[in-house]
Symmetry: C2
Subunit: 114 residues, 2 copies
Amino acid sequence: MTTDIDIQWVAVLKALAHSTRLQIVMELLKGTKCVTDIHDLLPASQANISQHLTILRHAGIVDFTQKGAQRCYFIRCPELVTGILALLKEDPPLLGKKRISCCSAEAAVGEENR
Amino acid sequence: MTTDIDIQWVAVLKALAHSTRLQIVMELLKGTKCVTDIHDLLPASQANISQHLTILRHAGIVDFTQKGAQRCYFIRCPELVTGILALLKEDPPLLGKKRISCCSAEAAVGEENR
DNA sequence: GCCGCATATAAGAATATTCGAATATTATTT
DNA sequence: AAATAATATTCGAATATTCTTATATGCGGC
């Protein structure tokens, strides 16, 4: 049942599902940056940043252009990334700890539970 | 700096970044289902489905109401989940393999950084 | 109480991720 | 060609995830 599309989706979500990579992506949304720039901004080693960028690139989220010895990384799909971040940002109430009683019609069949 | 928000976001993304869990979530978007229902729909063991549901619940994505011995699981934040899925669905061209040459806004980065 | 159903949890092996350290590669400058 | 700067890759250990098997828990009916 796992379609090719699913696999791509999972790869994208997995690539974003890491604190350092999410921060890299957020920085790149502000503008193209080379590895050193990112290294200066985030608390991770150069090698580690490079590894994360490779993962993001394989997921299709970033790409780079070469400028001399530098590689200028940029987000390939800003709408996708900003969209996902906007949804996450928007939804804190839903992600909160409080229980929301189910609004779904089906569950309303009578007794409430705890 | 890894903020609390980041951690929550990463938890949500990580929870969605698995084929089986993504399929569970897509099924639940169609309507509330109990564990057995999901088990009948997906190729995974009951124990495994239950484990994945626990992960989704801890991430705040699903919750359940109890009906006798059954637990009726539902999506707690349908807007968030449908939103993310819609973005992923929408963006296949961006996730494709083709190289996009840089739009060169980055040229400004130039010499001023070390 | 006991039974059967629905679901959860524990334990453990297999596998995958993460990250640091060291090294390699590539491009530029001298 | 050598030195240097920017970045990537390899290796290995620590840690985390995934999944299976077996067992446990909770619920309703008898």
